[in-house]
Symmetry: C2
Subunit: 876 residues, 2 copies
């Protein structure tokens, strides 16, 4: 296989599909050259394979030879030679990886100039100023990128010269001054490093190596980690004949989009600079003109550009962005690619392009082009600017941005919100006692905990922005500090719950108003999924259930009953039940809980009338309903406990467990306290009865948590049967189990003899499969593991595709062998994560259940997963 391909090489496949080999830039340059016949300066691409070999073993054998041949070919095409003292060929050397990594790797322009060829360029162009301007640019770039020198002295030299001449723009410096600048640069390089290489072949090899190396640069590595791009792809290198936007005032350079990437509006959009090279546009030093201004100054090039835009959109069937240069009135295209866009624009364009006969996007393709991030952007406010000073970083736990004043305590947060303040609640971690403060806040920031910590789960449930585990923040009584920065209670901060960024002060936010196309595209997504995989919501209250239904949930996949027990008016009753010393006391407490739960369930069943509601019987260990043991012990040791508290202490000791995650909870609690579970089932059936009487259509699914054996599930089934026998409700009731212990997954065939449905509780399944207590490992251990590559990703964010998904697949298959048509779902946090959803759909589940605000994302992700199986490619 060759290591180098010219842009006009006759590939057997469309070059645009060869990004893995040629990089994105190289593939599109070849596409424009060889397929579309657009005016692209000739050049060639050194493949990503060459880079991979270089990074592994050093400069590839044979690359010198291929490079010589490629340069010779280019020289023949251009009628000029690299380094020719009379009429030199100049080239650009640019990186271009498979996935776009804008600004992350390096570029060298004007390569081929040296002390002699610069004179030839001056003569040929009759423009000494231009020639020396090009040379000083090349020298500065080469020094910085290839030689790795500090750019500052070079920049200062240029500034000094401008000051000396009293000019503002680089272009206004006269040729003499530029010549002097080149001389000073030459000396600088000798001083800082060694002789500036005069041999253009040596320059070229140096530049190619620099681009190769830049793949492993710090910025590039960080970018890839953030974007999930593999580290072993390498970059291609594009060597291209230079055209000069800085040639004169009949020249210029610009970037353009075939539609507005912010709004999705049709019509060209972009920026242009007369007499400039691309780096000037990027640097933002000079003020650019809008593309429309081209029409007056370069009428012919403008017409041609419009034609190119139209052809590119038709060819790529998508919005493209384009880099171009005009050299003395002639248009040259330097790059194109399918352009990045905002969520709003993505939705709008996707719908428009299905209606545009020239593009004729199918609905499936339209759905495939929308990313989860696009939806997040239109669902939640965002930072309106990316130009923010990051104070701290945590885990983005619940998307959306929020601005507010810091409060460190839930009560004070509630009080401040009552006064009309906007509040960010900042806590080490949150517990059920903080819930009111969290509700009152615009956003939540914690310094500990992970993506399934209490703060994260609750915030996602409410669609409220949250950053968790921002461990560089140290909280004290009056505020917090990050390094030397001190933030007091009452100070303004801004958080971005998608990226985990924390910013001091008030960052302006965009509004969150999904455009009309939002429902159109998600409707198409639902069509793709119809009858195959549905999306339900995790919801514990009527309000959540209503919201979930509005977001398109087709049922409740997980209604946790413990949150109902934690309501301030319920908790005392629950404690009465725990402290009961006689069956009568216990029954009295259970009767009070029955009435409360009946109300809770009624509201949820009403909101989801016609759709199934899966109610999980009480799951957590009883001590979660008691005050913290350590506080009680301390009170006891200090002699400050009331009689009531002393009774609570004894109960807390009795129910204390070494490893509550693996202790008496779920169905185990039901076995020890069957009255509690039967009460829940009776309350649920009574509520269903109420709803049916009122004309609703309740569909009830009772879910038994934490099962490990068939006999245990059968035992639990009897609670439901007994309650059913006493009930007169005309409702559909199914009984199933959560699969959340590895054993349940491995004995799924036995469980399916009893269970009418399975729902994978992948949080607990992950905890037990890895032996990871999320509370304990997400703080220090998980970041260390991820940073050292000991795990590919956080298994609490994206489900482990190797072991946990294997259990899901094995259990689904085994269950369906025994009970064909067994309904299988996933509840738990992974149900809202697109990468996890892809795994689950692959494993054959019937539904996923996500928190209400994640339902749209899940609907999209389900469609993507199904399309992927059909090979409808996602957004380029």
């Amino acid at each position: 296989m060759s290591l180098i391909y010219a842009f006009d090489h006759a590939h057997p496949r469309a070059p645009k599909d060869l990004k893995a080999l040629l990089g994105g830039k190289g593939a599109n340059l070849a596409e424009m050259t060889s397929v579309l016949g657009l005016p692209v300066p000739p050049g060639f691409t050194i493949t990503t394979e060459a880079c991979r070999v270089y990074l592994r073993e050093g400069w590839p054998a044979g690359l010198d030879h291929e490079l010589d041949e490629a340069v010779a070919g280019l020289e023949r095409r251009m009628g000029r030679r690299l380094g020719d003292p009379e009429d030199p060929l100049l080239v650009s050397v640019r990186s271009g990886a498979q996935f776009s990594m804008p600004g992350m790797m390096d570029t060298v322009l004007n390569l081929g100039l040296n002390d002699r060829s610069v004179e030839g360029l001056a003569r040929q162009t009759h423009d000494e100023r231009f020639a020396y301007d090009s040379y000083r640019r090349f020298m500065a770039m080469y020094a910085r990128i290839v030689l790795g020198l500090d750019p500052e002295p070079f920049e200062r030299g240029l500034q000094d010269a401008k000051v000396r001449h009293g000019v503002e723009n680089d272009g206004e410096l006269p040729a003499d001054e530029l010549r002097a600048l080149v001389a000073s640069y030459r000396e600088l390089i000798v001083e800082l490093w060694a002789t500036f290489p005069q041999d253009p072949r040596a320059q070229l090899r140096g530049a190619v190596e620099a681009v190769f190396r830049s793949w492993n640069g710090e910025r590039a590595r960080a970018y890839r980690e953030r974007e999930g791009i593999p580290d072993d792809l390498g970059t291609a290198v594009n060597v291209q004949a230079m055209v000069f936007g800085n040639r004169d005032d009949r020249s210029g350079t610009g970037v353009g989009f075939t539609r507005d990437p912010a709004t999705g509006d049709q019509g060209i959009y972009g920026d242009f600079l007369v007499n400039a090279q691309g780096e000037d546009v990027v640097a933002g030093i000079r003020i650019t003109e809008p593309l429309s201004a081209l029409e007056a100054q370069f009428p012919e090039a403008f017409r041609e550009l419009l034609d190119v835009f139209a052809r590119l959109e038709r060819h790529y069937r998508d919005m493209c962005d384009v880099e171009f240069t005009i050299e003395q009135g002639k248009l040259w295209l330097l790059q194109t690619r399918v352009g990045k866009r905002t969520g709003r624009a993505a939705l709008r364009m996707a719908v428009q392009m299905t209606q545009d006969p020239a593009i004729a996007l199918t609905k499936e393709e339209a759905v495939a082009r929308i990313t989860p991030e696009h939806l997040d952007q239109v669902l939640h406010p965002q930072f309106a600017t990316s130009d923010v000073a990051v104070l701290a970083r945590g885990l983005g736990a619940s998307p959306g941005a929020a601005v507010g004043r810091v409060y460190l305590d839930a009560e004070r947060a509630v009080a401040a919100a009552g006064r009309g303040e906007e509040v960010i609640l900042v806590r080490k971690e949150t517990s059920p006692e903080d819930v009111r403060g969290m509700l009152a806040a615009q956003g939540i920031l914690t310094t500990r905990g992970g993506l399934v910590s209490h703060a994260a789960v609750v915030a996602r449930g409410w669609g409220k922005p949250a950053v968790v585990g921002a461990s560089t923040i140290e909280i004290d009584e009056r505020g917090f500090r990050v390094g030397d920065t001190v933030v007091h209670e009452g100070d303004w901060i801004s958080i971005d719950g998608a990226t985990g960024v924390v910013v001091l002060g008030q960052v302006p936010l965009t509004a969150s108003e999904p455009p009309g196309e939002f429902d159109t595209v998600l409707g198409w997504a639902d069509e793709i999924a119809l009858g195959r995989v549905s999306v339900r919501a995790n919801a514990d209250t009527a309000l959540d259930a209503q919201r979930a239904r509005r977001f398109g949930a087709r049922g409740i996949g997980l209604c946790r009953t413990e949150h109902m027990f934690l309501e301030p008016d319920r908790l005392p009753i629950v404690r009465r039940m725990i402290l009961a010393t006689s069956p009568e006391e216990e029954e009295e407490a259970l009767a009070a809980l029955f009435a409360a739960q009946r109300d809770d369930f009624r509201g949820i069943l009403e909101a989801m009338s016609g759709f199934p509601v899966t109610v999980r019987l009480l799951d957590p260990p009883l001590h979660e309903f008691l005050p913290d043991l350590v506080s009680l012990e301390r009170g006891d040791a200090a002699g400050t406990l009331s009689d009531e508290e002393h009774r609570l202490l004894l109960a807390a000791r009795q129910w204390h467990e070494q490893n509550p995650m693996l202790g008496v909870r779920g169905v185990r609690l039901g076995v020890l306290k069957p009255g509690l579970y039967t009460m829940q089932v009776r309350a649920l059936l009574a509520a269903a009865h109420d709803v049916a009487d009122a004309g609703g259509e309740p569909i009830v699914e009772v879910m038994i948590p934490l099962t490990v054996s068939r006999a245990e599930l059968w035992h639990a089934l009897q609670w439901v049967r007994e309650a059913l026998e006493q009930s007169t409700a005309r409702v559909e009731v199914r009984v199933g189990t959560m699969i959340e212990t590895p054993r349940a997954a491995l004995v799924a065939d036995e469980l399916a003899e009893v269970a009418e449905f399975f729902s994978f509780g992948t949080n607990d399944l992950t905890q037990m499969t890895f032996g990871f207590s999320r509370d304990d490992v997400e703080g220090t251990l998980m970041p260390t593991y991820l940073a050292n590559g000991l795990l590919e990703s956080n298994p609490f964010k994206t489900v482990d595709g190797k072991a946990v998904v294997t259990l899901v697949r094995l259990a689904t298959e085994a269950g369906r062998r025994i009970r064909p048509g067994l309904k299988v779902g996933v509840c738990g946090e992974h149900g809202g994560d697109p990468a996890s959803i892809r795994h689950f759909v692959g494993a054959g589940v019937d539904y996923v259940s996500a928190s209400p605000f994640r339902v749209p994302i899940a609907r999209l992700a389900v469609a993507h997963a199904l399309l992927r199986a059909k090979d409808v490619s996602e957004t380029a």
Copy 2:
């Protein structure tokens, strides 16, 4: 299929192999009748299948008809008819299940008598006394067993009669008195129930139903639970013509063994009663004579009996026990079976029978006949009597019996032992702080915790008797109470660590001295296992390693390094390491630990020279080396902490975890504190160096605990590599991993790319597969689950054959696909459990590792598992 078979039915297979159908008693009666031609009173067997149908659906269709035919056949054979007023046939009705359940189910004798036939019997036998004695026996039995009446008034009637007549033996009562007794019984039955049935067919059906029902009697259920006999087998019923040991003084009844079941000595052994029925022998009211006394009284029957014994041994190729009756000088055999024996006798007979040409037992058969309980009996002292009053029951956690005075506190236990007292340490549960007290005690009793609790594991390690989780015992400051019984510190108790029984006072104990045959049989077991599966020991000290080697361990499968850290002289250094505030302090502490660990490892490697020693790097979370958090918090709240303790409090808080089992331990700790792990590896290599220098042959296996991913294991491997590079030890070093998370088992293919061996840590694997924290569920939950049949057995005692063994098998197969010949072992408590060993051998492991005292059991169990695959049947 028939529901009834006569004893002389021509079965296609040897009847003795039809126990599942005919029950043990019926099968052997048929064998003696139809194969051996021995004198057995004719009769027939109602099958276990009939019983199963009865228990499921009620009286089986067709059974009446078959029963009529069988009775008619018997009547023809005997020339008498059931209930005939002139010359009645009498029968016995006896239970007989597949597995022997002595005394657990019911028997009715003399059935067929009624008010008229008793007169016929009297006339035929010319013995009115005999006839009415038989009738009163039958009525009392029938009332108790078939009618379910209280036996007490019947017994009182008999006693009153004897008092009235001033006689001691039932047989001395005259006929008139017996006739009056019968009349009074008749009235009693009318009073307590209804008319006594006169129809012999109704009597028979009632008796058969009673036997069927007795399968589900309370005693029988409890017995089966204890012995692990399935509940759904049912019992057969044997109906047999009566012969009368109580006919006259030329009659009698007895039981005998073909060898001494206590010692294994050759020669007959048994008891005999003149003029008695079997129930008299069992009841123990009259003093029996030894079998040898028969020779003088019944010379002919005695010779015949000797001949029968010899034939039975040759036929069954084993020691048999026999029930027989002599009726007017003629010998009848009522039952035979392979006899139960003590451990000592079992070993002795097994070896003798290989040398006896008439039996010609193979070594494999000899090994197959020894049970783990036999070995336990000769390895540990036992209660010398089974006649003990049980005070409480717990889990038998470490076999052997012990007697001592109760001490509730480790220090007081040590002091008492110092004074020469024998001590039983009684604690709620034990912790490392109790270890010295445990060492000083004869035995250990805890009221909480399960079979893998600290107390259980440590006691088994030392071979010291222990009963754990005796939850009816309530400890207070001065002693403990069970219900109304109060036991003070200093009082004597006795415990049986095999059965879990706790007895008040001093029970006499047998000595524990394995006979010479012990080593012979285990040597044969090793021959069977040679080159296939070996047995190693779990040992943490040189002493343990030496002991393990003496017990036949071929290596150490698990050397835990944390116990070394808990030694009183080490703990302060470990705490210094944890509290270190600078790298220097930490290194200083590590250097001190290095020296200590080097010594530890040297002793172990010396003791196991030539065999592999698998050292597990530090596994537990760091807070295990700190004082209890709650105590520190209480001290802090009460203001009583020293500065040092306050620093420990802060550390305990920092390292505190919600679920330590799933937290930062094992390799995870190593990732966060690599210095600790490298220190351990260096100490191990240095020790190996020392041992090799001294002429020993150290074989070192380094085991990484709690791995979940290949990258993590690779990371850990580097610690070993670095240490190896710095070492000059000429030793074999292999690096492997524990498989103790479900994920490790599911990604075993990846792990095998790095690991040179696998060792399944089935304790943790069980905890995570079930989601069972052993500390938390073994107290209340596990007994409830077992009692309700929600689990088949305690998965911490016998490995879960369904899910956990599936993981073991899948991982073993996957690992060997990647690395053929991968060595796979099991460490952890299951490695000493025979039923678990059978599973592991089936899954293909290369070795199991057990605590030193369990090594002989494991050697036997391994041989059994391998023989089972070859279908060499275990002891009958």
